[in-house]
């Protein structure tokens, strides 16, 4: 860390492990996926084209299912791997009394988001008889019901039917869920940024913006990526979603550039964090975050748009498979970049040095 003796006390303690990086990734993915699902929901309602209905609803289902899975995975990493007293943490309604702490604010945001996302999941998967592979949880509950004679599917369908508030109100509820999803993404940045005086890498202003851009990007990529992978590209507006992801990626690049500039021009701790990111962890940063997560997806996108302009990609099965595979690859790269970014945000988080 320290190249030559500089009269500063360098504290190299690290308490957060890889599981916090995993938690940050999954909570970001959950938020981004949910917002993507909501966007598809809005597009579906506003569209007059009946051909759009099914693929858009498929994206909404995937977004909701992914959000629930990711928020659950995040909780596993947080509770099982990270916390010293996870059972005590489950008593949060009683024990979390410091309402000014970002950890308490974040806990309530996650709880509320999970509640809304669970209701949405219930409505978009168990209400009516949804088609498409995004409804796989329904397949699971049906099999359990048939094989073990446990009426779990009928029960969930009944609850979904009785609680369903109608299409408009469900959309409104999903809008509230999206606001909570965005808050959940931002809170992780604000929580880390709150201690930026000690950890210069966690810039209190830029980190929430970076997390927000990255989470929207990976959430969109994961949701549209699995939709394309499992349900095909037809009618999914994949090009539009891909371009939207590109716009978010460009925003993320701008924030990341500002983030690096701020670090490089800061105090000794910030400069050291810049060195850690770009040199010691240079392979993960330049290779993972910049190349795989940002540059390659943009390059693939440019290639796909050029191809789609020149030829009709739906003209043959071979071309359709090629486009489908390439989009999946692009979205996969975006998600991998998100993993690398969160790993670095934790791995390169060193305390600011003290002067003597």
């Amino acid at each position: 860390m320290m190249d030559s003796p500089d009269g500063l006390v360098w504290l190299t303690q690290q308490e957060y492990g890889w599981y916090i990086a995993a938690y940050l990734f999954f909570s970001g993915l959950a938020g981004g996926a949910y917002v993507t699902g909501f966007a598809a929901d809005v597009l579906r309602v506003r569209s007059t084209d009946p051909a759009v209905d099914r693929p858009m609803y498929s994206i909404t289902r995937w977004g909701t299912v992914l959000a629930l899975g990711a928020v659950g995975a995040g909780m596993v990493f947080l509770l099982v791997f990270h916390l010293g007293a996870p059972v005590r943490a489950l008593l949060f309604p009683i024990l979390f009394v410091n309402v000014g702490s970002w950890l308490v604010i974040g806990t309530w945001i996650i709880v509320l988001f999970s509640a809304v996302a669970t209701l949405q999941g219930l409505w978009v998967v168990w209400h009516e008889n949804p088609a498409g592979r995004a409804a796989f949880p329904r397949v699971v509950t049906s099999r359990i019901e048939n094989r073990f004679d446990v009426p779990v599917d009928s029960w969930l369908a009944r609850v979904a039917s009785r609680t369903h508030p109608g299409p408009r109100r469900r959309l409104l509820c999903s809008g509230v869920g999206s606001a909570l999803a965005l808050s959940m993404i931002a809170y992780t940045g604000f929580k880390l940024g709150d201690v930026s005086a000690t950890v210069p890498l966690w810039d209190g202003t830029l980190l929430p913006a970076l997390f927000l851009a990255s989470a929207l990007s990976i959430g969109l990529a994961a949701t549209v990526g699995v939709t394309v992978l499992f349900d095909g590209v037809e009618g999914t507006n994949v090009t539009a979603f891909s371009v939207a992801d590109d716009v978010v990626i460009l925003g993320e690049i701008a924030v990341l550039a500002l983030f690096l500039t701020t670090l490089a021009s800061g105090g000794p701790g910030a400069v050291s964090a810049f060195g850690l990111l770009t040199e010691e962890y240079g392979l993960v940063f330049w290779g993972g975050v910049v190349t795989v997560g940002l540059a390659l997806p943009l390059a693939i996108s440019v290639g796909l748009i050029a191809l789609e302009r020149r030829v009709d990609v739906h003209a043959s099965d071979r071309l359709r498979r090629l486009v489908r595979g390439t989009y999946t690859l692009k979205f996969g790269f975006v998600v991998l970049g998100g993993v690398a970014l969160r790993y670095l945000i934790i791995a390169a988080a060193y305390n600011a040095p003290l002067s003597t």
Partner: protein, 201 residues
């Protein structure tokens, strides 16, 4: 409240680690890398213009502790009686947030995953120090902290801040008074290695 705190003079410190060892023994800390008090060796310059000082560091029981402010459960408390910051381990969820908030790396996590740190040898022995009587009233807590007790050069001292300020240099006292919310430590400015060989060491 009479804020209790530490005094440290780097010019007197010989970097012998007696303070950190004594702390570990008296507080029965036996968990790998956990050290409530540690000695950092800080170098400056290059040979032959190289100087090194040793700094004994622990929790400085800040006037406005960041660790307390971020703790979700208020497990960290700034005691009204003597200003010592304690951790009620029965409320700690082991989230590690406090350790990132502390600029001094004072908060440590043992095998139980719960926060622990210096409590100024309140209660004189193992434990989190929470709920111990004020230093001025308790027979056991009035004992000198182990680190101070075992410092062979008088580099470390502890007690009510006002008393520590009376024995400190003007520069150290002014530095302390310049930071209202800062650490409860009166820190003498380091003047270099030459100071270590002074006759009061």
């Amino acid at each position: 409240m009479s804020q209790w705190g530490f005094y440290f003079d780097p010019d007197k410190c010989i970097g012998c680690h007696a303070c950190s060892q004594a702390c570990t023994v008296r507080n029965d800390i036996d968990e790998g890398d956990v050290t409530w008090r540690r000695v950092e060796h800080v170098g400056e310059g290059t040979f032959p213009d190289y100087e090194e000082i040793s700094i004994s560091m622990g929790c400085y029981h800040c006037a406005e502790p960041e660790c307390r402010d971020v703790c979700p459960t208020h497990a960290l408390e700034k005691r009204a009686e003597d200003g010592i910051v304690t951790i009620e381990q029965d409320r700690c969820i082991g989230c590690n947030y406090c350790s990132y908030a502390c600029p001094y790396g004072a908060i440590q996590f043992g095998e139980d995953g719960l926060a622990q740190k210096c409590h100024g040898c309140l209660g004189s022995g193992a434990g989190d120090g929470h709920g111990s009587p004020p230093r001025e009233e308790s027979e056991t807590a009035r004992e000198t902290p182990a680190c101070v007790d075992n410092c062979v050069t008088g580099a470390l001292d502890s007690g009510p801040i006002n008393e520590l300020l009376r024995g400190a240099s003007t520069a150290a006292a002014e530095e302390f008074r310049s930071d209202d919310g800062g650490p409860a430590v009166v820190l003498e400015p380091a003047t270099g290695t030459e100071g270590v060989s002074g006759d009061d060491g």
